[in-house]
Amino acid sequence: MLNYLSIEKEKELTMQNNRIIEFTLIYNRHKKPLLNYVYNLVRSKMPAEDIVHNSFIKLYDNFETIKNPESIGAWLYTTCRNEAYSLFKKNKQITEQDIEKYEDTALGNNLMNDFEADELGRLIEEELRKMSPEQSEAYILKVTSGFKYSEIGKIMGIEENLVRSRIFNVRQKLKIVFKYFEGNLK
């Protein structure tokens, strides 16, 4: 009986170790694009890190319920998205104020840091921040995670064609940065 119990315990430990290994692989694969996606949504590092932290813990707790391993990525992004949007609802006023404040500083910085090495990158980020999350989310998801249009559609709950057109529209809007950039250089 004791022998049987020790075998069972050993099996459980092996399963637990396998789970941690599997979790670590998933974590290393998704942590950076996920953090960037959330960061672009909430536009602040601390809340973004909190959301990513909570989502990975939720993933660990619900490992058994996610039957299809391929859907883990989509599950993580959807969980982060839900958390980010509930944070928006909670702090709507604060976020809007923060964005306005950020935009003001960004416009001021435009004139001050014209000749920074990565000026173009900074301008692109600012332009993205000016857009509402609804506008820029599909594009950010595509660039940070590399998901297919269909997968992004599932995460955002919209049609694939709408994903395609939203991404295209963001790209068209982002072209404006070249005008700033070239104007600043002159």
Partner: protein, 159 residues
């Protein structure tokens, strides 16, 4: 094909969503159209800039997540999750064996009772047979057994 359609194709190409058979067409057009070539360069540069400006995951976040997991019991250890099917089968078979043993003990006890009752009945029959035999031997001695039913005696008569 209009240049606006090419802009859509460029966007799809950068997203790895343009069908392979359309790529040749796209690049043929780009090589001959300076505006579209410029558009391609700009969009490609924007993509590259965004990817290169991604923030790194701070090591504190790594340790925070794994520290939280350390203090957590893995769901696999919980009795309801991750337990192999064989384990449940073992429990089921053990329960069946215990029930069979209980059933056998009950059956054996009942069998012993029946045997005792049968032996009692046999003893009674034996006693009754002896009594009947004794009555047959003394048919006129009715006073000794007044309550007994008089056994039927068939006398053979020879003509």
């Amino acid at each position: 094909m209009s240049c606006s359609k090419i802009e859509t194709m460029i966007s799809s190409y950068l997203d790895n969503e343009l069908p392979k058979e359309e790529e040749a067409f796209l690049f043929t057009h780009i090589s001959s159209c300076p505006e579209c070539r410029e558009e391609f360069k700009k969009q490609n540069l924007i993509n590259h800039k965004i990817q290169s400006r991604q923030i790194e995951v701070p090591p504190e976040l790594d340790s925070r997540i794994f520290d939280t997991l350390k203090g957590r019991k893995s769901p696999a250890v919980l009795p309801s999750a991750g337990r192999p099917v064989l384990s449940y089968l073992n429990y089921f078979l053990s329960a069946v064996i215990v029930m069979l043993i209980i059933f056998s003990i009950v059956q054996l006890t009942q069998n012993a009772n029946y045997q005792t009752q049968l032996r009692n009945v046999e003893t009674q029959i034996e006693k009754q047979n002896k009594l009947i035999n004794s009555l047959i031997l003394n048919p006129n001695d009715e006073e000794k057994a007044p309550n007994l039913i008089k056994p039927i005696i068939i006398k053979s008569t020879r003509l």
